[in-house]
């Protein structure tokens, strides 16, 4: 195989002028669409291997207990049961409802046999006070639930910023001041494919194969190396398709370790996917928070002082919450003071979830901005523009306002009133994100028969990553997307990043571009003698290459490749100048509130996002719409419910933990901010999920004057806010 890195590089890769693009910045149907739409796509959940065992874990139903006994005898003698192991011994504690509550693992010849064995395990345990709510954790004498063994309190060290006295002084001088306490619940990721793995064991000198529903094909071998007692290079992880991660699938977790251990011990392939109830109990969540926010403004609306006192609720983890003033600015930075601490409960630790902490911060801050605007009689959009630094936010707010009909809306600087119990309102919110980019590699191989492979060890969480792995190469070489084979989801491929924080596109797309560019120059080097023009003076378009300025000197793609005596391998790497680090968004929501029944119906949502160069406008709109849908679901419906007395997680199912469905969907408009002409690319997983629920809450307030300070915006919340609790 020849390598293009041998030849001198004639130029740096570039995304090119937008007007010259044939493939990118257009609607590109995803390349794995047909296999997904027909059920042919194989997810980890779907892997079937000869002799495969079906494994399950047993999760203790309440968060805290002392184990008296775990009797495996009956289970181990049941038909088809091959492996049973207790993970706790008598006297051990269950300290929280998360991976620490996994008591046993079983594996059997069939899924039913595994379930039967699980049911036959007899556990005796003494239940302890559950400590599932922050209030319980803060009670005098509450048991300490922290994961840190030396912890002596359920309260983490407070992160204090700013000078409270300065903030107080500024607030005292403000014309309008609002102070509210917001309760933001814990949200589950609800990946439709639960966490899990299929592990195929192998002799020491061969690779163990692990199918994993993961956001980190590249990191998973290291995560399983110790369990399997072998070097990470002897573990191959495959993720051809995966059913959602949203930040919860960064490592193999206990369930991955168990799958690996059972495979190792039995010498047979093992399929271990969490059940839906397991998933709710032990697979992470977005942390909640309780925030008391006090903000003051001058008569012109400019914010002048701010104080935040916040508790983060991340179970046994710390939780996330960015500091104030979230995205907005205060006239004098020194008048911002905050104290943020973690309150620990004996519940599953929070994990990253799309823009960790940001939707929580947005909810409180946007509410304060709305309320100050009303106190001062300032238009909601104008109020935001006066307190946001970025011109990008200004233009985006104006655009979403126009799209949602703000100009014609009758009450823009005060809440409306219900007529015959019906009211319509509009609300707004903004977002920022720094998607970043870091080391990533990609190999592009061109074979003499004209076939092209673009390969990198990334994973497609549903973002459309696989499609741009092909499309970027297609653009560079003037080919159709379907002429490029995209290979991803395999840890043996050139390494790429873990998909978190919208970093995947900013990392892998530059490496793909770099590889494609090198491949092109490698081919152009061959053309120097054939078409008699130097490297860098060719146009690749429509399956042809021609000399720039002389279309008579051209060759079809297949003839170019025929010049190769062996496959051409181009190895690309991350190029910093090809990615973008900061993006902005604005959203608007329009709702109808029935003040007699408490019904909130979201009528319309609009988002405007900048992003540098859109690689695939179709997938980009999907991401933006998807962000709005998740925020709508978060705001309107989602509720984790614990029984506070005994500690049962009641909402460990999709009946009680309600996510938005088809009939919740408003009219949705995803606007791509094409005024952003930066020649760079970035991911779009986080930014669009940040402000939607805040805009909806603002719209409810704008409709009828009810400021909801907790989520979700269900009938009980709306009616109790309007009329008080009965």
């Amino acid at each position: 195989m020849s390598s293009s890195s041998r030849g001198a590089q004639a130029s740096e890769p570039s995304w090119g002028k937008r007007s010259d693009l044939d493939v990118l910045n257009r609607d590109i149907p995803r390349v794995d669409g047909p296999v997904k739409a027909t059920g042919e796509a194989i997810y980890t959940h779907d892997v079937r291997l000869p002799g495969m065992l079906w494994a399950r874990v047993l999760v203790h139903p309440v968060p805290r207990a002392e184990i008296e006994s775990i009797d495996l005898e009956v289970a181990s003698e049941m038909p088809g049961v091959v492996y049973v192991e207790a993970l706790k011994e008598p006297g051990d504690a269950v300290r929280y409802l998360g991976d620490d509550a996994v008591l046993a693992v079983v594996a059997a010849e069939t899924p039913d046999q595994a379930a039967d064995a699980l049911r036959a395990i007899k556990v005796k345990a003494r239940r302890l006070a559950p400590v599932v709510t922050p209030a319980q954790a803060l009670e005098d004498g509450a048991p300490v639930v922290s994961r840190r063994r030396d912890a002596d309190s359920n309260v983490g060290r407070a992160n204090e910023r700013g000078d409270e006295a300065v903030a107080d002084a500024a607030l005292a001088g403000a014309v309008a001041v609002v102070e509210r306490t917001f309760e933001i619940p814990i949200q589950h990721h609800v990946c439709l494919e639960t966490h899990g793995h299929v592990v195929q064991p192998a002799p020491d000198d061969e690779q163990v194969t692990v199918y994993a529903s993961t956001q980190s094909v590249g990191g998973t071998p290291r995560g399983l190396a110790r369990t399997l007692g072998r070097d990470a290079s002897k573990i191959r992880v495959l993720t051809p398709h995966m059913g959602g991660g949203f930040g919860s699938k960064f490592g193999p977790g206990l369930e991955g370790a168990m799958a690996a251990r059972v495979a190792d011990q039995t010498g047979r392939p093992v399929h271990l996917m969490l059940t839906r109830s397991d998933e709710f109990a032990i697979a992470g969540n977005r942390s909640g928070s309780r925030q008391t926010l006090k903000v003051g403004a001058r008569s012109d609306g400019r914010l002048v002082g701010l104080k935040l006192d916040a508790d983060k609720h991340g179970g046994v983890s710390g939780g996330s919450l960015p500091g104030p003033p979230y995205i907005y600015t205060v006239a004098d930075d020194s008048a911002v003071a905050s104290r943020i601490r973690s309150v620990f409960t004996a519940t599953d630790g929070s994990r990253a979830m799309r823009a960790p902490g940001h939707p929580q911060a947005s909810f409180a801050m946007e509410a304060a901005v709305d309320e100050l605007a009303y106190l001062l009689g300032i238009d909601l959009v104008e109020m935001r523009i006066r307190n946001l630094d970025s011109e990008v936010h200004h233009r985006q707010l104006r655009r979403v306002a126009e799209e949602i009909g703000w100009g014609e809306h009758p009450h823009r600087d005060r809440p409306g009133r219900a007529e015959n119990g019906r009211a319509v309102g509009i609300g707004f919110g903004v977002s920022v994100w720094g998607p970043g980019g870091r080391s990533s590699r990609c190999d592009v191989t061109i074979r003499p028969d004209g076939s092209v492979v673009s390969a990198t060890a990334t994973q497609d969480l549903g973002t459309g990553a696989r499609t741009y792995v092909a499309a970027i190469v297609a653009e560079e070489l003037g080919l159709a997307v379907n002429m490029i084979e995209a290979r991803i989801g395999d840890s043996d491929l050139p390494p790429s990043v873990t998909s978190g924080g919208s970093v995947t596109t900013g990392s892998s797309a530059p490496a793909i571009k770099d590889a494609a560019h090198k491949a092109r120059e490698g081919l152009e080097a061959l053309l120097v003698d054939v078409l008699e023009a130097p490297v860098g003076s060719y146009v690749w378009r429509n399956g042809q290459v021609s000399v720039r300025g002389d279309s008579t000197r051209s060759l079809p793609w297949i003839a170019v490749c025929a010049l190769l005596r062996e496959p051409l391998l181009a190895q690309g790497e991350f190029r910093d100048f090809l990615h973008e680090g900061r993006i902005h968004g604005a959203q608007a929501a329009k709702v109808e509130v029935d003040t007699l029944t408490g019904r909130v119906k979201v009528l319309k949502m609009v988002a405007c996002q900048d992003q540098g160069l859109p690689l695939n406008r179709l997938a980009l709109r999907s991401q933006i719409n998807g962000g709005m849908v998740q925020a709508l679901s978060y705001g309107m419906l989602e509720q984790r419910v614990f029984d506070e007395q005994d500690g049962f997680l009641l909402s460990d199912n999709l009946d009680l933990y309600k996510i938005a469905g088809a009939q919740e969907m408003p009219e949705m408009v995803a606007l791509i901010d094409d005024e952003d002409e930066r020649p760079s690319v970035c991911g779009m997983a986080e930014a669009p999920v940040i402000p939607g629920h805040s805009a909806i809450a603002g719209a409810i307030h704008n409709a009828c004057g009810a400021r909801l300070t907790r989520m979700p915006f269900t009938a009980d919340n709306v009616l109790e806010t309007l009329y008080g609790k009965i």
Binding site: P29, R30, D32, G33, P34, V35, K36, A37, T38, G39, E40, A41, I42, Y43, H45, D46, R48, W54, T110, P111, D112, H189, V190, C191, L192, E193, H241, M242, G243, G244, F246, T275, R276, L461, G462, T463, G464, L618, A619, R621, S622, Q623, N625, G626, G627, M628, V629, Q630, S633, N653, L654, D655, I659, A660, G661, A662, Q663, M665, M668
Partner: protein, 216 residues
Amino acid sequence: MREMDPSSGEPSAISRRSFLKGATQVAAAGGIIQATAAGAPAEVVDPEVETLSGTSSLELLVNGKARSVEVQPRTTLLHALRTHMDPPLTGTKEVCGTGSCGACTVLIDGQPAYSCLSLAVTCAGRPVTTVEGFGSADAMSDVQQAFCDKDGMMCGFCTPGFVVATHAALDRSPKASLDELKYELSGNFCRCGTYPHVFDAAAAVQEDRARGEEGR
């Protein structure tokens, strides 16, 4: 048997007893279910009532093909498809297992069903259509093609269920308005948030089919 129209003037001559008896003749279904030599034999407890007990062999009609499968009475159609058949049909997904999400949607007798709540043994003799039955990656149905064109999928895990539900919705209500489409798709849930794109896909199919009708 069905006398639906109150204005038809048909007298209600039959007594309730015969109402029930009469209907019995219509519904008596053939028992394709049988005991197998390999599995535990179906024990006949009451000679007058057919009883299925333990593992037995069942013939299912899936996507137009007879598929033999060993099941217990408790085996759901979903598990029969995904784990009992050889080769398995894994396009139908299991997400909740409690009939709450729609990922396991198939058609039974042409009607949409949660296969996780349908016992395989009760599907004997009733045609079952899974996502694989509508098309393949090389020869997609119009709905599948529209899902690709409009990006009616992201992670894709809910997609097979949505494809089947969309076929059912458009069969049931070919000219459905957007609100009616939402109603007919309200038994399927997506976490990535593809709904607006799914609606676009369904609308595109409606347009294409309407154009096809006109052209005929």
